[in-house]
Amino acid sequence: MIVLPILIPFLIGVLCLLVKKTSLSSTLSILGAFLQLGVAVWMLTEVVAAEIIAVQIGNWQAPFGISIVADLMAAIMVLITAVISLAVQFYALSDISKALKQKHFYAIVNLLLMGVNGSFLTGDLFNLYVWFEVMLIASFVLITMGGEKAQLEGGVKYLVINLLSSILFLCGIGLLYGKLGTLNMADIAAKMVDVEDAFLINSSAMLLFVAFGIKSALFPFFFWLPASYHTPNIAISALFAGLLTKVGVYALIRSYTLLFQTQFDLIQDVLIVVSACTMIFGVFGAACQYDIKKILSFHIISQIGYIVMGLAIGTPLAIAGAIFYTIHHIVVKTNLFLIGGLIERIYGTSDLKKLGGLFKWSPAFSLLFFIPAFSLGGIPPFSGFWAKFGVIRAGLEANHFWLVGAALFVGVFTLFSMTKIWAEAFWKKSEVESPPHWNSLTYSSVLPCVVLALITLYLSFFGNTLFSYAESTSAQLLNPSFYINALLN
């Protein structure tokens, strides 16, 4: 039954393709999102009980057939995907114009969700490539939806670099298959142990690193992200910001804890340097921008740096920190994009220089922004602090002092840009008497932000439930023989 997170969005997407009335397709899609949330919660409880669930598609036994595997890592990612999709689809009700909805917006969003869930659940490397492509095609259509000049231009950059990433991924798969003769992830990991000449394996490991690095916007491959993420409708940006780069990070974590675990020493130095550079360059990029959406786009990059830093350190605590960080980051970043969209809707622009006075007009709205923004900045009671704390403590324990130094330095700058948005949009005196389009805030667009902020608060004050879950996840990830035995027995 664990194919349901893939099947539900697929069926809903196909039905949305058939339905002509937009109100019907949006209802259908939101119902599907609720259903998916229910399935994800059910799957999480099952996986916690059974530790790992595997299904062999078509009853072809692994390693010959395609396996769908739900372990602790996949289950929590599927759950958070369902939450984000529900929030974004509610927001999209008032954010996406009717013309775009008629161009099958809902069908394509569901196709994207199918790709994302498929990537999380698959146990086969080539199948992962296929899900990546499904996700990619859907995201190409979404990012250029509407056909504005900036969108087309950003879309071209996004398209070209992501196509290159897929090509490199495919080459990596080819080399790996040539060497090992298998594509099942568990089987690859099992055969990796007794490989003598690791030349092709190392090449493949680096090719996959670059491919996933492009997808997750690591330094030096991140340029496509700030060039394209601010161009589409904000609901689409929020969905991308929350999920797409994290699929790349998930693939990185999966490949370097399972597939290339024997090659981890080789890649570790690269990961450390890359993660430090990703954090620093991302935050510097954000510091010089004056547009909310562009600042937030650059912050995705620097936050990805923290997650990869956890992977680079590679101790159980660090991986647990990285997983906690991923979940926290998905919630907070999606929320910030959605709220940024609300601010843009109120003022008609997202340029910080033209904003101001929001705190005077509505302290409640300011609080709504304050929670995710300062959680991202890492202010103590909020979840961002615990996420950073986990990763940094792991770094200290493993004696990566200058990496920790970079992380702390970047933390200060993150806070600086969040304070910049706060000071410019909320505290600064406004040039106009009253907010121009205050009544454009509808319930359906504010509600998702409130819910996501509540989730952030939950993670802040009751974060230890998630953190202990993340610790058992990282224990499971770092013990690949468990995964291998569960699939190949």
């Binding site: 250029t144 196509l163 290159l164 080459c171 298959y177 003769g181 060039a227």
Partner: protein, 115 residues
């Protein structure tokens, strides 16, 4: 045979990289197509670069007489996916060229600007 395929793959990669480094949109898309074909060839030949044994063999045929079917299946999938992606890329580049009134990639620098 393998050395010939290796040379073909190398030439395809070289041509593709040359294409994507040019400034014209048409050469960009041609470069991507070439790179995609190079990757497909690489996957296709990956079954032959070692003494591979096919997975599904009847009892009557000897395993060494049959080519490994998995790379062929993989490359078929990859070609189909590439087909869809290339169609989309071409239509997107057409629209972008129309919107920006230029097929020079140097004109594509508006979304990177600091606002």
């Amino acid at each position: 045979m393998e050395i010939a395929i290796a040379i073909v793959i190398g030439v395809l990669f070289a041509g593709g990289i040359y294409g994507i480094l040019r400034r014209s949109l048409v050469k960009l898309i041609l470069g991507i197509i070439l790179l995609g074909q190079a990757a497909n060839m690489l996957v296709f030949s990956s079954g032959g670069l070692r003494e591979s044994v096919p997975v599904f063999v009847d009892a009557s045929t000897k395993a060494t007489d049959v080519a490994d079917p998995i790379p062929q299946a993989l490359v078929l999938t990859a070609i189909v996916i590439g087909f869809g992606l290339i169609i989309f890329s071409i239509s997107l580049l057409m629209k972008a060229q129309k919107a920006l009134k230029s097929d020079d990639i140097n004109a594509f620098n508006n979304t990177d600007k600091v606002s």
